[in-house]
Amino acid sequence: MNNSQLLKGTLEGCVLLVISQQEVYGYELVTKLQHLGFFDLSAGTVYPLLQKLERQGYLESQLRASNEGPKRKYYHLTASGQRQIQNFITDWQQLTATVTAVIEQTGGSKDGAIERKK
């Protein structure tokens, strides 16, 4: 299975989590996500997501003065976004618990090996 497909499903929650720590602009966010482990992440994936999250009311943006040219757009989390983070964490914990149980019951292990039942 393609790892990027798995990561894409969780990117939205991770973006909200990163922004919950600190107000960021686009380039900052992409860089932080890459440092956190989304090594193959491209900015082209992030901008539509930022638009979507802002449209949904989980993020708000503000223009701030920049030393280099026009004002820059910074994103911060809204109260609604904070609730969405809670939902994401709950869903993720349930999902990981379920998947872990399936792996264990089908003979899988942490190193990816599968024990076939005789």
Binding site: Y27, A43, G44, T45, Y47, K52, R55
Partner: protein
């Protein structure tokens, strides 16, 4: 306040040649497909600023934004167009509206053939649609000869429609137009145009259309040029010129 597009034009100069090419493909595509001009320009400026920072940190536009910008662009278009219902048709309608205004005011018609006029308007809408669709198709590659040919053929068909519409349409809905009516309607339209562009923060762009109107009207009414442009061929030439200007204006997204 400086329009976002002008800020974009200034900042773009700082990109390297390769990065600029990459970015301008993205810009063209979003400007054509994005239905909300203000949101589209804001997103483009945001991406440009970040791309410049990536460039300063040794990353190319492709490395930063991704190897397949069209996928990202399509997702952005989906989000931009979901944000507001103002759409491309509004811009096309505006072009048609301006064309109607220009023809109405520019010519010393004593009467108007409504059916022929409606056909000319539909022809203009189709021409602009074809032009913009072909531009969008070629957004991430070099404009193909097929696209140029397509626009050229569409334009020639449109000129044919202009020339023939008066002859082949039934003479049933023809109404007289006095000078007072013409100038009264024209004044209302000009006021509408000025307000439209001010509301949409594109007053400098609007000056182009108002300028085209004033130019056409002047050509028809000046003693020196009036004799030429009040004949049938003179009127058709002016119409063709205006249609060409409006079609070329659609390519303004390249700039």
């Amino acid at each position: 306040m400086e329009p976002l597009s002008e800020k974009n034009n200034q900042l773009r100069e700082k990109l390297t040649r390769e990065n600029r090419k990459y970015y301008e493909n993205l810009l063209l595509y979003l400007r054509i497909k994005g239905k909300d001009e203000l949101v589209t320009e804001a997103v483009l400026l945001e991406i440009l600023q970040d791309m410049l920072e990536a460039q300063a940190n040794g990353r190319s536009a492709q490395q930063y934004f991704g190897a397949d910008p069209k996928v990202a662009a399509d997702e952005l278009v989906t989000e931009i167009n979901g944000a507001k219902q103002a759409n491309l048709k509004e811009n096309l309608s505006l072009n048609v509206f301006i064309f109607c205004l220009i023809t109405l005011l520019a010519f010393t018609h004593t009467e108007i053939n409504v059916i022929a006029y409606m056909i000319e308007i539909v022809g203009m809408v189709i021409l602009l649609n074809i032009t913009l669709t072909l531009l969008a198709t070629d957004a991430f590659k070099r404009v193909s000869w097929r696209s140029y040919l397509g626009v050229g053929v569409a334009f020639m068909v449109y000129v044919g429609v202009l020339l023939l519409s008066d002859y082949f349409t039934p003479k049933t809905l023809i109404y007289p137009l006095g000078p007072a009516t013409l100038w009264g309607i024209g004044a209302l339209f000009v006021i509408y145009l000025v307000l439209y562009f001010k509301w949409n923060d594109h007053f400098s762009s609007g000056l182009f259309y108002i300028g085209a109107l004033a130019f056409a009207a002047t050509l028809v009414h000046l003693p020196l040029t009036g004799n030429i442009f009040q004949t049938l061929w003179g009127q058709v030439s002016l119409l063709v010129m205006l249609a060409l200007i409006l079609t070329v204006k659609a390519f303004k997204f390249k700039k």
